[in-house]
Amino acid sequence: MTNKTGALLTIKNLTVKFATATGSFTAVDGIDVHVDRGEVLAIVGESGSGKSVSMLAVMGLLPDTATITADVMTYDGRDMLKMSPAERRKLIGREITMIFQEPIASLNPSFTVGFQIEEVLRLNLGMSRRDAHQRALELFRAVGIPEPEVKIKAYPHQMSGGQSQRVMIAMAIATNPRLLIADEPTTALDVTIQKQILDLLMKLQEDYGMGLILITHDMGVVAETADRVVVQYKGKKMEEADVLSLFESPQHPYTRALLSALPEHATGDRLPTVSDFFQQEGA
């Protein structure tokens, strides 16, 4: 518990299969993931790459139709595969928390945001109503919500997208987690709000020394946040590298294709597409 570096989450050979009407579909195919303490890992991929599914599998949030297998799945040296559901529940939502793409859809429209964040504190940390309320106000301040005393009584529909995502982040860090998984946290937001939310996440990550897994399709977000990057395509890992090497000298043709498909990297009139690259490489 005391060592500051080293592996926080280690997954080896994770496979997720879904039973469908037409047979079994493999969404994640033998992925290895590891995150160190205080590290920011970005998992990049396009839709259908299995980038969300692999993390939902860790969180135990997949439906019953999913079959999850892995050789190793340890959190902080503890074997998650051998955990009882009760032990796992203690971990998830407390030490490992998650935020999602659609902040407004992640909140319950029938309750005030204050009630929802206080519920997290009371259930997970056993706080009294009064303590939870105080802590909720502190968290609102920490994530930069203006007028926390007023906003804590607001319903989700009375908040903007950026503010709702701040509420989700406040909820996710309420239990002082050591690993935060953010699934496309800024995709639904404007660029200026995206910048604020990313800055906030990075600040909290540094202040709390959390491990952060950032799932995204946006190479810009990767460039601005990640320490290390995993590139996924169709359920397989294409490449893994530290962020600088990935942008400087991408090894896999798919990574090269993704980077050159960025409009800001366009050199001529046409943008190269992924199929161009796979044809060139004969893959």
Binding site: G38, E46, D190, V191, A257, L262, L271
Partner: protein, 290 residues
Amino acid sequence: MPDQNPAAGTPVVEGRAIVQDYRVPGSMFAKGKTVRALNGIDFKVEKGKTLAIVGESGSGKSTLARIIALIDAPSGGELLIDGEVVDIHRHRPGPALRSKVQMVFQNPYGSLNPRQKVGDVLMEPLIINTKVPAAERRERAEAMLKKVGLQPEHFNRYPHMFSGGQRQRIAIARALMLNPQLLVLDEPVSALDLSVQAQVLNLLADLQDEFDLTYVFVSHDLSVVRYIADDVMVISKGVAVEQGTREALFADPQHPYTRSLFAATPITDVEAIRARVARRKATRSAQPVA
């Protein structure tokens, strides 16, 4: 030949002091009020050019797109198509005008009728606006499918059988069926994956060259705008805060709002990443992880 055309040189679309007000009705507890979504917007787009309208949610960029596409009537100002004032409030646009201006929407999952086969999607504008006989309609629809990179055998399929990028191709094909001069594209690539986005942007560039199309391209993404636009208008809270050529605007943004947009756009430049990684290392060694 085009020089003999008296209309040559007139902009394909022009807006003069366009204003759009929305009335929010009052209730038992609140008085009604008027929200000014657009406040005196001026613009011009020449033939074959692309005007990009950039702004954040709530800026009024889609409101303006709907006015240009002749869907909504503005509450004030003038809209000119091909040098002629168009007032859809007084006269519903007829087939001739509808054929000139077409629109492509952001979400290809929402803009196609799930119960309509792709062929019918493409032939419908011809049925409504022209007297083209059935056999020719089918021929034209199949040709258009090929033009946007799909296959004629996709004619009898339903939208759910296509990926997001393919659906956006169908939406573009539908907009082109009437040979329009002006295409209003409201965030046409923001719902698409990066590699698919590149393909659709390439397609739009090809089609513009081939048909000499004029584009009004609404986007929030500056990197896309930089790639596709000739002129750019930055709009914030219903006001055009900055307008200019792409080169001028990207080289030297004047308005503070434009600058804040640039500052917020993630940079994928290797040197910028190197600097960030170095900064992060420095803060980490100064203050070890608690």
